[in-house]
C-alpha cells in the first residue's frame, strides 16, 4: 500500500518506509544536507535537512523521518529557510576561507549550499577555532578546520566497510575525526571516507593540488585489477590520470571502491612504461618503428610455421585484456596462424570453476550481487575475500550487517582478524577453521552431513542415493582428524545451509588454486545440489575470478579447450604449462605472450629453459617484464585507460571499458597490434582468410556478438535444468583422503594476494607502493613471541628446494604454525613450494607447502635456490 502525502501543496505517493528526504525528490525538491547518505543509517546530526510537518511543533529532519499517510510537508517555508540559514551560519562561523587552496573547491557541498542558503556576510566576528595539523598517513589528507562533523566518514568506515578505523575524538566544538583512540591511520585505505566527505576535510594526497574539478575530463570505465567489475570514473588532465572516483549508485560496486581501485591508478603514468617497440638481435635491444617490429614478428612466426608447422607456435594472453582483444588473439592464433595452442591467465585457477560449472549447469552465471544482498545464508569458502575481492566482500558484509543474512566461512584463517581490517570470519557464525590445505576434505564432510541429515531435497533420487552410498564409505572420524573441525559443526552447518531459503555458496582462490581444485569445485557443486541450493531463485554458486576479465578470456575462446562462446575446441590445444613443457622439449618453437609473465608465475628454472629453446619469443606488455627481457620482439601495449573494449566480471556482467586518453608514446591497444600482425601474416603467407579490417573495438565486438550463442550473455534456466539432470546421471567424482602431514617444527606457508596489490601491475602504482612496498611474511604474534621475533625482523624460510629471507608482520588472523606470504614482488617464497599440475584442467598449483622458519643470524643472500 503506497503512502499518500502532500509536499509543498503537491500530492505524492511513495512506498511505506520512504524517508522524506527521498520522497520529496518526486516534486523536484533536493533538500540540502551534509550527514545524510543513502548508504548509511540516518544520524540526523547536521540539522540541514529540517522540514516543516503539519501538526508537529518542531521542525523535523527529513533524513530520519519516514513519509506517513496524510503528512503535510513544507520544504521551503520561512521557518525551514530560517533553520537552513541557521545551520549554515553555525557551520561557516568556524570554517576557514581557504576554498582557493582546498581540493574540494568546486565540488563542495558547503560551498554550494553557502551560495544557496546563506547570506553574503557573517555575524561571526570571533576568532575561529583551529585544530592542530595532523597527518593521516601518506594517502589521506586530513584538514579538520574544514570538517562539518557530519561523521559520514566514521559511519561509512563502520557500517559499510566494517573496519572501524575512524572514530570521533574529543567532543563538543573540538570534536574531530581521528583514528580510533589516536593511533596512526592503518586501515584498508578504500578511499571511502574521502569519497563520502561532503567538504574538503578528507582529500586524497595522491592528487593533492593537481586539479580543479572543472578542469578534469571524466571517463566512465571498469577497474582492471580484480574481477569484481567496479565502475571507475577516471579523471584525467591531458595524458595524466589525476584522480579516480566512483559515484554512489553507479556500477556493480554502487560507488564503493577498494585501495587498488581508488589509489591504484599510478601505474598508467609510470615512468617505466614501454612506449616504443623493441627488437633484440644478438643481445642488443633496439627501439624500432612499428613497421619493423611487426615485420620481424611476422617473419619470425612465418619461418617457424613454415619449418615446423603451425602447431609449433603457441599464444598466451593475460585476462587483463578486453573481450575484443582476447577474441582477436585466439582468432589470430587459430585461424591465421593455424595453431590450437592458445591459453590465458584464466588457467591459473578460474578455469577449474568454468569447466565444472559449464559441465554441470551449462553456465557460470548463477549469482549476481543483488542476490547476495537478498540471500539469507552465505556460505563462503573464501575467507580471504575481503582482501582478494573487496567489493564482493562488501556485498556479503551488507547482506550480513544490514539485511541479517547468516554467514558461514570455511578457511585456514583464525576467526579473529587484524585491527582496522575487515575479515569475513569475524562476521561468521560459525567459522569452520580447517587445517591449511584441507578445504577439499571439509567439503566432503559437509556433503556427508547433508546427505546424512534428513533434509535432502526431493527429486534427485538416483543421484542422491549414489552420492550417499559413496559418502557413507568415508568415516567422519577421518574427516574430523584431517580438517580439525568437529563433527557437530559439520552437522549444524549442513542443516542450516540446506534449510536456507536463498543459500549462496562463494569460493575463490583457496579452492581454485589449491591442489585438487577441479575436484573440489565439483564437490562444491555437488554440495549445493545436495543441499538444494541451486535451481531456485536467489540460491546458487559464485566463483571469484582473480583478474578483471578471466570469465571473458574463457568465453572469448582464449583457452585451448573452448572456442568463442564456450563451444568445445576439437581437437583441443596445449595449455599454458603444456606449451612451456613442449617448448622445453623443442616441440614449440615460437611463443606470443601478451601481458603475461610466465617466468614469474611458474617455476623459473624450467620456464627459462623452455624460453631459451624458442626460435622466437614475442612479448607484448606495458612494462619490461622478466619474460620480456628474454624476448626477441617486445611490443608496447596500451593500458586499460587508453583503449576501448569490454570486461566480463565474475558475475558474468559485460561492461564497457572506455578510453580516457591517448596511449602512451607509441604504445597501441592490443587489438590493433593483433590486427597488424594478422594482416601481415595473411599477406605474407597468402592465406585465404579475410583480413582484420577493424576500425574500432566496437567493430570487433559486433563480430563477437555474432559468434556467441543466441541469448548470450543471459542464460536460460531450462537449459540449466536439463544440463543438471544429465550431470546427475553420471557418477560423482571422488576425493582421496590423505593423512595429515606431520608438521612438527614446520610452518605451513600459503602464498596469496593481498589487499593492496594485484599481481605485479599494482606494484607500479605509487599509491599502493606507499602502502605496501615489499613482500612480507605474516605470522601469528604468539608464534613470533616463541621465536622471539620483532615486527619487521627478517627471517629465513627454508624448504626442500631452497631458502629465502622475508620481513615478518604479526597478524592474529594467522592460525598457529602457519605463514602467509604476499606474491607481488620477488616471489621468492613461491619458489620454495612444491609445484604440481591438475590432472584434468592442467591448472598449475604451487601456492602452499611446508617450510622451516629460522631467525636470520647472519645476513645471507636474498635467495638461494638449491639445485
Amino acid at each position: 500500500m503506497p503512502v499518500k502525502l502532500k509536499v509543498n501543496n503537491q500530492e505524492i505517493e511513495v512506498v511505506p518506509g520512504t524517508l522524506l528526504i527521498e520522497a520529496v525528490k518526486q516534486v523536484g525538491v533536493d533538500v540540502p544536507h551534509f550527514c545524510y547518505s543513502p548508504k548509511l543509517k540516518p544520524d540526523a546530526n547536521c540539522r540541514m535537512c529540517l522540514v516543516e510537518i503539519e501538526k508537529m511543533p518542531k521542525l523535523q529532519t527529513s533524513c530520519s523521518t519516514q513519509a506517513a499517510e496524510g503528512m503535510v510537508v513544507l520544504t521551503d517555508s520561512p521557518r525551514v529557510k530560517e533553520a537552513q540559514f541557521s545551520v549554515m551560519e553555525f557551520l561557516l562561523g568556524n570554517h576557514p576561507l581557504d576554498c582557493p587552496e582546498c581540493d574540494q573547491g568546486g565540488e563542495c557541498q558547503l560551498q554550494d549550499f553557502a551560495h544557496k542558503h546563506s547570506p553574503t556576510t557573517s555575524r561571526f566576528t570571533e576568532k575561529k577555532r583551529t585544530f592542530e595539523k595532523e597527518f593521516f598517513g601518506p594517502l589521506i589528507e586530513k584538514e579538520m578546520n574544514r570538517c562539518v562533523a557530519c561523521m559520514r566518514c566514521v559511519r561509512y568506515c563502520d557500517e559499510v566497510m566494517d573496519v572501524n578505523a575512524l572514530g570521533a575524538v574529543d567532543r563538543g566544538n573540538v570534536v574531530q575525526i581521528g583514528g580510533f583512540a589516536h593511533h596512526d591511520l592503518d586501515c584498508e585505505f578504500c578511499g571511502g571516507c574521502i569519497q563520502i566527505c561532503p567538504v574538503g576535510a578528507l582529500t586524497s594526497r595522491l592528487s593533492m593540488y593537481t586539479y580543479r574539478p572543472w578542469q578534469v575530463k571524466k571517463t566512465e570505465t571498469i577497474c582492471n585489477y580484480c574481477s569484481d567489475g567496479c565502475q571507475l570514473t577516471l579523471e584525467t588532465i591531458d595524458d595524466q590520470v589525476v584522480r579516480v572516483s566512483s559515484a554512489m549508485g553507479t556500477g556493480r560496486n554502487n560507488g564503493d571502491l577498494c585501495a587498488r581501485g581508488y589509489f591504484g591508478y599510478g601505474y598508467v603514468n609510470h615512468k617505466e612504461r614501454m612506449s616504443r617497440p623493441i627488437v633484440r638481435q644478438k643481445n642488443r635491444a633496439m627501439e624500432v618503428t612499428w613497421e619493423i617490429a611487426v615485420e620481424k614478428a611476422v617473419s619470425g612466426l612465418s619461418a617457424v610455421r613454415a619449418q615446423y608447422g603451425p602447431q609449433a607456435i603457441g599464444g598466451i594472453i593475460s585476462s587483463h585484456c578486453t573481450n575484443e582483444e582476447l577474441y582477436l588473439f585466439q582468432k589470430l592464433m587459430r585461424q591465421v596462424i593455424g595453431t590450437p595452442h592458445v591459453d590465458s591467465s584464466a588457467r591459473y585457477g578460474y578455469i577449474n570453476a568454468v569447466r565444472v560449472m559449464q559441465e554441470i549447469f551449462g553456465t557460470t552465471r548463477l549469482i549476481r550481487y543483488e542476490e547476495i544482498l537478498q540471500s539469507d545464508l552465505i556460505f563462503s569458502f573464501s575467507s580471504e575475500m575481503a582482501e582478494t575481492h573487496p567489493i564482493t566482500a562488501l556485498k556479503v558484509k551488507e547482506a550480513v550487517k544490514k539485511n541479517g543474512a547468516q554467514l558461514i566461512t570455511v578457511g585456514a584463517y583464525n576467526q579473529q582478524g587484524d585491527l582496522y581490517r575487515s575479515h569475513l570470519p569475524k562476521l561468521a557464525h560459525p567459522h569452520l577453521q580447517v587445517q591449511p590445505g584441507t578445504d577439499g576434505v571439509a567439503i566432503l564432510g559437509l556433503m556427508k552431513a547433508v546427505v546424512e541429515s534428513s533434509l535432502q531435497t526431493t527429486g534427485r533420487g538416483a543421484y542422491f542415493d549414489r552420492m550417499k552410498g559413496h559418502l557413507l564409505e568415508i568415516p567422519f572420524e577421518r574427516i574430523v582428524a584431517i580438517t580439525g573441525v568437529p563433527e557437530s559443526l559439520y552437522r549444524e552447518v549442513a542443516i542450516r545451509y540446506a534449510g536456507a531459503k536463498r543459500g549462496i555458496l562463494i569460493f575463490g582462490r583457496a579452492i581454485l588454486r589449491g591442489e585438487e581444485g577441479y575436484k573440489n569445485v565439483r564437490n562444491l557443486c555437488n554440495l549445493a545440489i545436495l543441499a538444494g541450493q541451486v535451481m531456485k531463485p536467489g540460491a546458487g554458486i559464485l566463483a571469484l575470478a582473480e583478474e578483471a576479465n578471466e570469465l571473458g578470456a574463457i568465453e572469448m575462446g582464449a583457452v585451448p579447450e573452448y572456442l568463442p562462446g564456450l563451444m568445445p575446441a576439437i581437437p583441443g590445444g596445449k595449455t599454458l604449462v603444456e606449451m612451456l613443457d613442449a617448448a622445453e622439449r623443442g616441440e614449440i618453437k615460437a611463443l606470443y605472450v601478451v601481458g603475461e609473465n610466465p617466468l614469474r608465475s611458474l617455476p623459473q628454472k624450467q620456464v627459462s629453459e623452455a624460453i631459451k629453446n624458442l626460435d622466437i619469443l614475442i612479448c607484448q606488455d606495458l612494462f619490461h617484464t622478466e619474460t620480456a627481457s628474454m624476448a626477441h620482439i617486445i611490443l608496447p601495449a596500451a593500458s586499460f585507460v587508453e583503449k576501448e573494449g569490454r570486461f566480463t566480471n565474475h558475475e558474468g556482467e559485460v561492461q564497457r571499458v572506455r578510453r580516457a586518453m591517448d596511449p602512451l608514446g607509441n604504445a597501441k591497444p592490443d587489438w590493433e597490434i593483433f590486427s597488424m600482425i594478422a594482416n601481415q601474416m595473411i599477406s605474407r603467407n597468402s592465406l585465404a582468410i579475410a583480413p582484420f579490417h577493424y576500425k574500432s573495438a566496437s567493430e570487433v565486438w559486433r563480430e563477437v556478438s555474432l559468434t556467441m550463442p543466441s541469448g548470450w550473455p543471459k542464460f536460460s534456466s531450462n537449459t540449466m535444468a536439463s544440463q543438471m539432470a544429465a550431470y546427475c546421471e553420471c557418477p560423482p567424482s571422488t576425493n582421496t583422503l590423505h593423512d595429515p602431514i606431520v608438521t612438527l617444527g614446520r610452518f605451513h606457508l600459503q602464498i596469496g594476494q593481498t589487499l593492496f596489490h594485484s599481481g605485479k601491475m599494482s606494484t607500479y602504482a605509487d599509491g599502493l607502493q606507499t602502502l605496501c612496498p615489499d613482500d612480507f611474511l605474516l605470522i601469528h604474534p604468539e608464534d613470533a613471541e616463541e621465536l622471539k621475533l620483532a615486527e619487521g625482523e627478517k627471517v629465513t624460510i627454508t624448504s626442500d628446494v631452497g631458502s629465502t629471507v622475508l620481513p615478518v608482520k604479526f597478524s592474529p588472523k594467522m592460525a598457529r604454525r602457519t605463514l602467509f606470504s604476499s606474491e607481488h614482488f620477488g616471489l621468492m617464497a613461491k619458489r620454495l613450494l612444491p609445484f604440481s599440475v591438475d590432472p584434468v584442467t592442467q591448472v598449475p598449483y604451487g601456492d602452499r607447502g611446508f617450510v622451516i622458519l629460522s631467525r636470520v643470524e647472519t645476513p645471507v643472500a636474498e635467495v638461494a635456490i638449491y639445485v
Binding site: P42, R47, V87, F90, R129, G172
Partner: protein, 431 residues
C-alpha cells in the same frame, strides 16, 4: 517552619539506619515487591498510573504511561535506572543511592516486573564511586537473599541487575545517550523517533527511569495510589527532593510535598539568604531551567506552576543567588559548562554553544557591544528546537532568561566597559 512527612528520606533519617538489607527489611523493605509479584504487570502499571507519579529526572513524564508504551510482545526488554545525576545544582539521587540503596533496588524490581524486563542496568555517574560500591554491595545482599536473581521470592520472575559506571559525560544523563553508553558506544543522543520504548537498549523495548522515581515505587505499592496522589498538587503528586544550593544559610536536600512555594523553600527550609542579603535570582530546577527573579517567590514548586512562569521544575536543583551576583557571569559560568559538555553531534548545539560563550565572555570582560545582545538572542533562537536532544534548549535557558530579566545588567557591562561586581567566588554551585 512547616514539617512534612518524609517518604524517601524517612528510613535514612532514623537513628542508626545504615541502609543494609537488614535495616531496610526492618522498615518493611521488599514487602512491596512481594505484593507486586501477586499482581499482574498490567495491574501494577495501573496503580502507578493512578498514583500520578511523574519522572523525577527532569522532564516529569508520567511514569505509568511511559511503562504502558512498552509493547506487549515476547523478547527481551530492559529497564535502565538513570543514576547519572549530573545536572549542576542537583545532588538528591546521590543521597538516595548512598543511604538507602535497597529502596531503589526494590523500585527497580517492581518496575521490571511491570514492564516484563528480566535485565536492568543502573547507569551511575562515574564520579559516584562510593555510590557504585554501595549499590554493588546492596545488590549482592539482595541476590543472596533471593530478592534479585532467578525465581524471586519463589515466583517465576527473574531479574538480573548490573551496575554500569559512566565515564564522566553530562550528556550520558540524556536517556538515549545513556543507552549508547551502556552499549559501549560514544555517548551521543539518538534521534527520536524511534523512542526507547520501542527501540531502546540493543534496539529492544526499554524504559529509563530516574533514581528518585524508582525509589517512590515501594511506597506507592505499600501505601496505595490514593495515598500518594493525595500528597502534593493534583497534577504533581507525591513529595519531591529539592537540592538547594547557593547563597542560602542551610544548603542541602529537602524532601517536601510538591507545590510548596519557592519562598517557603528558600526562607523557611533553607534558612534564608546568607548574610541576610537581598535575593536576586533563583534557578528552580537545575542548570537547564530558566532564571527566576524574587517576584516569582510565591510560585509553587510543582511542574505546572513553574512552567507557567516559563521555567521548569527539572531536576529539582534550586540555586539561589544574592544581590552581589553578576548575572552575566552566572550565565557565562553555566554556558561554559554547557559548552564543555555539548557532545558535538549536532551543528546548532556544537557550534552555537561556543559562539555564545565567546560573546558572553566578551561582554563580561567589557568588550561587548549593544548589538551583541540581539546577536545573543538570535543565536539562542537558532539553536532552540533545532537540536537532536533537549540539551540545545537547556543551554540557551540561562542566556534567554537573564537577558529577559536582567538586560540592564548586560547593558551596564557594555557601557561601563566591564563587570560592575566583585569577582564572585561565594556562589557555590553544588555540583
Amino acid at each position: 517552619m512547616p514539617v512534612y512527612e518524609k517518604i524517601l528520606f524517612k528510613n535514612m533519617e532514623q537513628a542508626g539506619y545504615t541502609g543494609t538489607l537488614d535495616d531496610y527489611r526492618t522498615t518493611g523493605g521488599y514487602t512491596a515487591l512481594q505484593k507486586v509479584l501477586k499482581l499482574t504487570p498490567a495491574e501494577v502499571i495501573e496503580i502507578v498510573k493512578k498514583s500520578g507519579l511523574r519522572g523525577r529526572g527532569g522532564a516529569g513524564f508520567p511514569t505509568g504511561m511511559k511503562w504502558s508504551f512498552i509493547p506487549k510482545i515476547p523478547g527481551p526488554k530492559y529497564l535502565c535506572c538513570n543514576a547519572d545525576e549530573s545536572e549542576p545544582g542537583t545532588f538528591k539521587d546521590r543521597q538516595l543511592i548512598e543511604n538507602d540503596p535497597h529502596q531503589m533496588i526494590e523500585g527497580i524490581a517492581i518496575a521490571c516486573y511491570a514492564i516484563g524486563a528480566a535485565t536492568a542496568y543502573i547507569y551511575i555517574r562515574g564520579e559516584f564511586s562510593l555510590g557504585a560500591k554501595i549499590l554493588q554491595k546492596a545488590l549482592s545482599e539482595a541476590v543472596a537473599a533471593g530478592l534479585i536473581g532467578k525465581n524471586i521470592m519463589g515466583s517465576d520472575f527473574n531479574l538480573n541487575v548490573t551496575v554500569h559506571r559512566g565515564a564522566g559525560a553530562y550528556i550520558c544523563g540524556e536517556e538515549t545517550a545513556l543507552l549508547e553508553s551502556i552499549e559501549g558506544k560514544r555517548g551521543k543522543p539518538r534521534t527520536k523517533p524511534p523512542f526507547p520504548a520501542v527501540h531502546g537498549l540493543y534496539q529492544k523495548p526499554t524504559v529509563i527511569n530516574n533514581v528518585e522515581t524508582l525509589s517512590n515505587l515501594p511506597h506507592i505499592i505499600n501505601r496505595g495510589e490514593e495515598w500518594f496522589a493525595s500528597i502534593g498538587t493534583p497534577k504533581s503528586t507525591g513529595t519531591r527532593i529539592f537540592s538547594v544550593s547557593g547563597h542560602v544559610k542551610r544548603p542541602g536536600n529537602y524532601e517536601v510535598p510538591m507545590g510548596i512555594s519557592l519562598r517557603e523553600m528558600i526562607y523557611e527550609h533553607a534558612g534564608g539568604i546568607r548574610g541576610d542579603k537581598q535575593l536576586k535570582a533563583i534557578i528552580p530546577g537545575g542548570a537547564s531551567a530558566s532564571f527566576l527573579t524574587p517576584e516569582f517567590l510565591d510560585t509553587g514548586l510543582d511542574f505546572e506552576s513553574i512552567a507557567k512562569v516559563h521555567s521548569m521544575l527539572g531536576s529539582g536543583g534550586v540555586t539561589v543567588m544574592d544581590e552581589e551576583t553578576c548575572m552575566v557571569w552566572a550565565a557565562l559560568s553555566l554556558l561554559e559548562f554547557f559548552e564543555h559538555e555539548s557532545c558535538g553531534k549536532c551543528t546548532p548545539c556544537r557550534e552555537g554553544s561556543t559562539w555564545i560563550v565567546k560573546i558572553l565572555r566578551r561582554i563580561e570582560q567589557g568588550k561587548g557591544q549593544l548589538s551583541d545582545l540581539d546577536l545573543l538572542q538570535s543565536v539562542c533562537k537558532r539553536i532552540e528546537g533545532n537540536t537532536v536532544c533537549a540539551f540545545g534548549d537547556a543551554e540557551i535557558a540561562p542566556v534567554i532568561s537573564t537577558l529577559h530579566h536582567f538586560r540592564e545588567e548586560y547593558e551596564a557591562h557594555i557601557q561601563g566597559a566591564g563587570c560592575p561586581y566583585q569577582p564572585n567566588a561565594s556562589l557555590v554551585m553544588a555540583h
